[in-house]
Symmetry: none
Subunit: 205 residues, 4 copies
């Protein structure tokens, strides 16, 4: 009674479109700049009706965040699944990351765009969700064969920072996402200079 498969499906009928609309608008305009009316209009309801499905604007954001983490995480996990070379894994992961936030998922985009501190009431929840995902990069970078003196924390921050910042400048039509990911990882892995030799590659201490 109320949990027939059919009913259950109809029950969440409008939740999905609602989340999609929210994700789309949060991703495009940010949290504050998006109004409940915007979202409601996008799915053809009135602002008040949204509250039948979600208790608050924050609850909507949280749901989007959760789905965002779920999607980008599984996308990333898949991308490294068959791979054993640590650098190739990182390349794949970076590509998955970029593809998801640039092309494929408004949900994931929201996760990058909306900073937890902007929504104090659920700040901690958002932070946890983010860490859940970002920790994967900790592991990925730990697995890299690096010189001892390399600060892996800064390395991760650099790669993720550069990646996340793509949201600011990337437009459909920029370089293919695949190339960007490749470039970002290889900029790190390889030396950038022509191998014209000693004085370049030697590090003066």
């Amino acid at each position: 009674m109320g949990t027939h498969a059919g009913t259950a499906q109809r029950t969440n009928n409008r939740v999905k479109p609602l989340l999609d609309a929210a994700a789309s608008q949060f991703a495009a305009k940010g949290y504050r700049e998006t109004t409940i009316r915007d979202i409601a209009t996008a799915v053809g309801m009135l602002p008040g009706s949204v509250y039948y499905h979600f208790a608050s604007k924050q609850a909507l954001l949280l749901a989007v965040y959760e789905e965002g983490v779920r999607r980008i995480s599984s996308r990333l996990d898949e991308s490294v699944a068959g791979e054993s070379d640590p650098w190739q894994k990182l390349r794949n992961a970076t590509e998955a990351h970029l593809e998801t936030i640039l092309d494929q998922s408004d949900y994931a985009r929201v996760m990058i765009r909306v900073m937890p501190e902007q929504v104090p009431d659920i700040e901690l929840d958002l932070i946890h969700l983010r860490s859940d995902y970002e920790d994967r990069f900790v592991a990925l970078i730990d697995a890299l064969p690096l010189q001892e003196d390399v600060d892996r924390g800064l390395l991760r921050l650099m790669l993720l920072g550069a990646s996340n910042w793509t949201q600011i400048w990337y437009r459909a039509g920029s370089a293919p996402v695949h190339d960007i990911a490749q470039a970002f990882v290889d900029f790190l892995r390889l030396p950038l200079m022509p191998d014209t030799a000693d004085e370049v590659t030697v590090r003066e201490c």
Copy 2:
């Protein structure tokens, strides 16, 4: 600079504190989250009084942005002035950039934090101001001796992206800004792997 010297001076008397307050709050909370009342209160005036000095909230932001560009640009220009080695120039520039947006100037911080699209009416002005500054990195990176196939545009975007993103995670007490700048540039310049492979590059300490 002229007319009633006295009057003129008194006129701009409150502009500076007003800009300082605006810069400080925009940098800390973002544009939308900062109210005219916040800014007015910080300098001990009432909201309406702000409009004697600035035509609108947007005008305030624009003024802050301009000052931000001025400051970070001159800081960067100084930092590379005496230097001739292109990598060292980039290192210095990056350090200047980071120091300015992390430690030294709310004005510059605003420039990084507040995205032009958030204020459609002056979006283009803001974009121009930003480019004005970021172009310096185009030049800096053009001067680098790199292998031919390196995409200098992506390289710039990676370095600046990673740098700007520090705003998200950097807290007083993280690694010294100097080290972060060094690391970011060297991660790019040098190979990251232990020198197990001759064909890559030798690294000696």
Copy 3:
């Protein structure tokens, strides 16, 4: 009682719990402060379902009021049934009144707590219901052997006012209801001063 016994019974099946819940919440929080959702939730249904049983929130209140009058009236009638002394009757009535609105019946409590004017559409109905009950006190006080110049109307208003106001301050754990009723009636019946004599008990006219 009649027709499809089974169906009929099942029909009113949910009416009782619904009324109970309404009474409980109206009594505890007042009319405006109680939402249809509160009531529905309390009996495990959805807000819309309430309207199958009651035409409106007002109708619910009216039903509660009616039941409230029924209960407190019969409770009071019982309490004075065997008694012939008019003062004892009043004492019993007051105790019955207090016990009902303080301890025993949310329905009766509602009658005291929710003022007719708060629900203009049914204001008159509510007023009639109340009078129906309060008239009993008119009779009770008429039966009292009092000096001629005593304003029996004010006397009733004082006793009932003091009694009803107990809702404001009474908490389980205050004096026993029985004692309160006794005290209220005896404060009226007896002189309050030590019988130190004439000048006290003489009323200067």
Copy 4:
């Protein structure tokens, strides 16, 4: 500058009418039933404008409450000032109380009508304000020469309860307030029965 006498006066120009309107409507309809729009309309402004003067609806209520306590307290204090007989003091106090809440001050009426628990955020403040006033009755009743076994707490509760409940039934045109106060106190002070019984008390006119 801004604190000229003239300016200062003009400053609080609209606060008084606003408070008056709020007091009037809270007294007439209760807190929840009164909207900010009601109050604003009454003084000829728009709802938003109210917030220039008061931070919230609750703040408005609190201000009204405070003024209510101030007024009824000083009214009461005056009424007992010249008097030394404890019963006459109580009579005067009761009359002052009734006159204030029935005839003279919407502010005081609010204090009686709006229960602290209806506004959880400022519940404690309201409770303190009320006690501040009601404590005067504790003192007044403590001063009464009563038989030892009289529960002075219940006595106060009865008198105040009956008095406050007048708000429910009193209409201009009922008995004069003065008579009501007299009656309430004398119902308590004197025995109500004809002097047929020696053992009770003699009452002579």
